[in-house]
Symmetry: C2
Subunit: 338 residues, 2 copies
DNA sequence: GTGAAAGCGCTAACAT
DNA sequence: ATGTTAGCGCTTTCAC
């Protein structure tokens, strides 16, 4: 193993000089810097992470806690996780993956062991058990999602209330009067993961403001669940002319069920999806959608947590990304009543 | 921060005793052990990861390299990653997440920095750039997937050749004579990720042995791609009575297209999917499938890499999990020719 | 602009 | 069965 001392000897300088060349924490003459850098390259030196963490009290690692659950749309989580990881590298950090299996105590373990010096928590619940521990350890942390009481915490999420309002407005503008919201799995609502409830609240608010009547139904995973939910909606409210879908995995089933039951999209029924762009683009017809900006959420989460960890500021507060609705082929004017 | 020395003082023993209580590397009297354990709990002590790594030359971290690509079925990757993470915890290890963005040099960086003492590589290509570096650093490593030349490497994967043969046999047993394989995205074949080609090879071999004629077509993502691929297959070979599908994201579209074109499954056409069980179970009809044992692959990958890292054995070799085909509702006897 | 040296918290000989 | 102690490789004063 190549050590800093070896690099120093090779370059004919002292160990501290090598250290300072690497960290840039004091000015070095052009000449020395070059010699040291050449030695580093030549010997293939990489600083020992443990030694560095021990001496500097910073691990250069961000812990990422992801849920074990499978009732969320997995590709979105994965995209966020990947965006976090690649962004972290830009800050010379690595990402440690933790699952919720270990429970809230993982927060304590990570903080106390100095394994990571910042944490990003995904799948935050309204009353998340990890939050008290977070407050008590005072670790730099960012939540992806909103808890009930975000005071003193740094959170980032899509503004789902605005998302619900946006969808309602879009449909109201098109003249729809009777609409339905096909939501996430029931377990998601039961668990009080904020996003589903916030979307519903925003949608309800604006639906009422715009005089829309609407129905909300959760929807489980799989073909049966999706078609069953849709049939029941259409049976109960035959006058429904538009659907808002906040359930990526149900999208193909829903579209197919509409096709099969002889309803044309958007002529007979309009569809707005809340989903990543690629899902919307790969559907037929391409879906009018409010996109889930997974990449941006991951990137911003890292930026927020790095700002905190570097002590530059305690950006304690909410970052709510504004939803963007992209009209595509799946929404159109409400059909004239028969 | 609570240190080992503080625990020692609190328990009235020497630091090394505390260390040995924790590691179990030498026998401790019942009495001392209890006192030390109580002190640890009382003070909320967690060993400093960096210090431990520095002193012991072991980080207790497994690096997991995942692909950035999105043409693989994401939920399977995620399930493997989660299984790896939870299994790693059973070995008192954590998982460091690396993406392929950093390139092959990540292997060098991790090995040289001592950040991880073992690596698991996913999405292995036949001529994977990371392999030479792996051989040269001599790091403990397990590949999920098979490269062209696995000599000296430890690999684990589903036995996709046997999977192909199994599917062919199942259909031949049911009397089918003309079958088609709906494969992964074309990019997957171009990149020479082994699994798709191996499935095809196994399927071809057994199809020939059993006298099946067959067609193979890659299939991209999305509704258009899936239905287009299927229409073309049926146009080209109207006598096709069975489909093997190695493309999870195409499954719902395929089933719907069959339904819509008036073909009953399995009366008119049988379908065998190569997919995780939950995809098979959530389809209608439930699919006869060869399951992708994501959990087991993750778990076994950790076991293999731990065995290696602990030096107990260099299990250099392939672990090919035997495929299991579960007959469900989507396959039946070949229809009598008209 | 550069060097010397004191730790960081732990492990693992080497003691007894 | 337990204690003493010398590092592990790095960062960071302190000194010039």
């Amino acid at each position: 193993m190549v050590t800093l001392a070896q690099v120093a000897r090779h370059a004919g300088v002292s160990p501290s000089t090598v250290s300072y060349v690497i960290s840039g924490k004091r000015s070095i003459s052009q000449d020395t810097r070059l010699r040291v850098e050449r030695s580093i390259a030549e010997l293939g030196y990489h600083p020992h992470a443990g030694a560095r963490a021990l001496a500097s009290n910073r691990s250069n690692v961000i812990a990422l806690m992801i849920p074990l659950r499978t009732d969320m749309f997995v590709p979105v989580m994965m995209e966020i996780a990947i965006a976090i990881t690649t962004t972290a590298r830009r800050y010379a950090h690595d990402v440690l993956l933790l699952t919720s299996e270990e429970g809230p105590s993982a927060v304590k373990r990570i903080a106390a062991s100095g394994l990571a010096d910042a944490m990003i928590l995904m799948d935050v619940e309204l009353e998340d058990e990890r939050i008290p521990l977070l407050r008590q350890t005072g670790a730099a942390a960012v939540l992806v999602g909103l808890p009930a009481d975000p005071a003193g915490l740094t959170c980032i999420d899509l503004d789902f209330e605005a998302t619900g309002r946006l969808a309602a407005d879009h449909l109201a503008d098109l003249g729809h009067r009777e609409v339905a919201l096909v939501g996430a799995a029931e377990s998601v609502y039961r668990r009080h993961t904020g996003f589903a409830e916030r979307t519903l609240a925003g949608f309800r608010q604006q639906a009422e403001a715009r005089g829309l009547s609407f129905l909300h139904r959760p929807c489980g995973v799989g073909h049966e669940a999706a078609t069953g939910t849709l049939s029941r909606i259409l049976a109960e409210r035959p006058g429904t002319t538009a659907l808002v879908v906040q359930n990526e995995s149900a999208v193909p089933h829903l579209l197919n069920h509409l096709r099969q039951s002889g309803r044309a999209v958007p002529e007979d029924i309009s569809v707005v999806a809340i989903c990543p762009d690629d899902v919307a683009l790969h559907s037929t017809p391409q879906l009018t959608s409010v996109s889930i900006p997974a990449q941006e959420m991951g990137r911003r989460a890292v930026e927020l947590v790095m700002a905190q960890a570097s002590g530059r500021q305690h950006t304690t507060g909410l970052t709510l990304l504004s939803p963007v609705l992209t009209p595509r082929e799946s929404t159109g004017p409400a059909p004239r009543p028969l």
